[in-house]
Structures are given as C-alpha cells and as structure tokens.
C-alpha cells in the first residue's frame, strides 16, 4: 500500500478525515476500502459532495452512473450531487 502524506497533523495513526466514519453506500468504515477494492488509500479514494457528504469514489460513481434519474442526487440528503473541488 502506498500512502501519500498530504499533511502532518501530529496523529500517529493514518486515517481518512471524513464527516462521518462510514460510507453511506457500502456501509464500510472509511478507513477500509469499498467492496470492489482490496486496499484502502489512494486506490480507493474518498470524495466529498458540495452538500459535505462523503463516500468512497467507487461507490458514489456507481450510484450516479446508474440509470435512474434520482441517482444524480446525494444518497444521504438528496441534494444534487456535485463533487466539491478542493
């Protein structure tokens, strides 16, 4: 597993910083990867929406790319899903 240091926070344990500690779609904790991946980290990144909800990128892509029209909204709050650029 390759870990990129994005910032130093003085915490010894590496952890994704997220608004909640589990992905609302696969219900896996954010320090684990989504169901399709083997290793957490860069290969299975997290994405934040403008509504501030966070998901595994692989999970939210499956939801947004589904063919129902409601899939274009955040699965947590139903606001339009737009990725928050950092």
């Amino acid at each position: 597993m390759k870990v990129t240091i994005k910032g130093y926070t003085g915490v010894a344990v590496w952890k994704w910083v997220a608004n909640d500690d589990t992905c609302g779609i696969c219900r896996m904790p954010f320090d684990s990867c989504c169901n399709d991946c083997k290793y957490p980290g860069d290969d299975c990144p997290l994405v934040w929406g403008q509504c501030s909800h966070c998901f595994h990128m692989h999970c939210i892509m499956k939801w947004v790319n589904g063919n129902q029209k409601s899939n274009q909204s955040c699965p947590m709050c139903r606001q339009a899903w737009k990725i928050k650029e950092k």
Partner: protein, 200 residues
C-alpha cells in the same frame, strides 16, 4: 468475490439485530437463506391506529443491484390500508420506488412502513377501493381496518362482533371466508351488496 449487496445486507443485519431501538419499535428482521437475498421482516402496528396490536409479516427480496436499487417488499399479512393492496400485499411507497437512495437501509424501510401505517396517503393509493373508503367513509374504514387487524394480524384488541356475524352469514351461504370478508369490506358491510358482488 462477495457482492456489495451481500456484504451490505450482512452489515445491516447485524445493525438491526443489535439495536434496541428496533425492539422498542417492534421491528424484526430474519434471514431466509444463506446468500442474504431473501429476508422476512416484521413490524408491529403503531399505537393509536387501527393497526395497533397487530403484527405484520413482510417479504423482503434483495436485488443483485442493492443498494443502488431498492429492496422489493410486500406485506404477507393481509391488511386494509389505502397504500397496500388488500389482494397482493403490494406497497405504494415512494422510497421503495423512485425516491430510493443508496444510503437507505432495511431499517429505514421498516421504520418507513411503520410510519405509513400511521399516516396513510389516500391520494397516492395502491388499493383504490380502500382509499376511496378512507376518504368518503372514514369511520367504516377505521372499523374495517381494525377488524382485519384482529382477524389477520393477531390483535386481541378491537374485534368487531357485528362484522363477524355478517361474515358468518355469507360463509353459511357457502362463500369462502376471506372472499366474504373482502366483499363485505368493499361494500361498506352492506350484506346485500356484498352478496351481489360475490355472484358477479
């Protein structure tokens, strides 16, 4: 490889069986097979509704595409409710259709169904006969729903002895028990009209 549907149901199942909130709300979940695709749900009728005291069994089928598509749920226990078919148990509830969101869980679904029992939506009916009765003859609707709770959902509260004797009248004429009850329920417990409909 384990599919996301299976993995998620496994996690959800653990959450549901370990939550005391759910025992308080009289909600249960049971697995029917090892691959987590078929479950049986159970909800208690909410207090201060005609469904109080009843226990409702639900059939839950998990599609392969869960949680990107909603679970398929229907009532196994017969119920008199505007948004639930008195014939098939099919449910008209937005979150089981186009308002489903991937973050919802079986827990959300069961709690929403319980809420639906407490607050019917007669303008979006699944059973037109029941919905019409709800709007135009609410008193009879409430009594009928209570009667069904007593007969089919095992409630010991609120029997309607007058309804029982009308059903018995039809059974004595050779009609089937359930069919007689449906005919009477659909015709405001008018025996003549019910018999007429059974002959047609």
């Amino acid at each position: 490889m384990v599919s996301i549907a299976t993995a998620r149901i496994k996690r959800e199942f653990k959450e549901v069986v370990t939550s005391d909130e759910l025992t308080k709300c009289k909600i249960k979940l049971e697995l029917l097979n090892d691959n987590f695709t078929e479950l049986k749900g159970e909800i208690g009728g909410p207090p201060d509704t005609p469904y109080e005291g009843g226990t409702y069994q639900l059939e839950i089928k998990i599609p392969e595409t869960y949680p990107f598509n909603p679970p398929k749920v229907r009532f196994l226990t017969k119920i008199w409710h505007p948004n639930i078919s008195s014939v098939t148990g099919a449910i008209c509830l937005d979150i089981l259709k186009d308002q489903w969101a991937a973050a919802m869980t079986l827990r959300t679904v069961l709690l929403s169904l319980q809420a639906l029992l407490a607050t019917p939506e007669p303008d979006d009916p699944q059973d037109a006969v029941v919905a019409n009765q709800y709007k135009t003859n609410n008193k009879i609707f409430v009594k009928t729903a209570r009667h069904w709770t007593n007969i089919y959902a095992g409630s010991t509260l609120a029997a309607e002895p007058e309804f029982d004797s009308k059903v018995k009248q039809l059974i004595d004429m050779g009609f089937d028990n359930h069919k007689s009850r449906v005919a009477l329920s659909s015709h405001l417990w008018n025996v003549e009209h019910a018999i007429e409909s059974l002959y047609n």
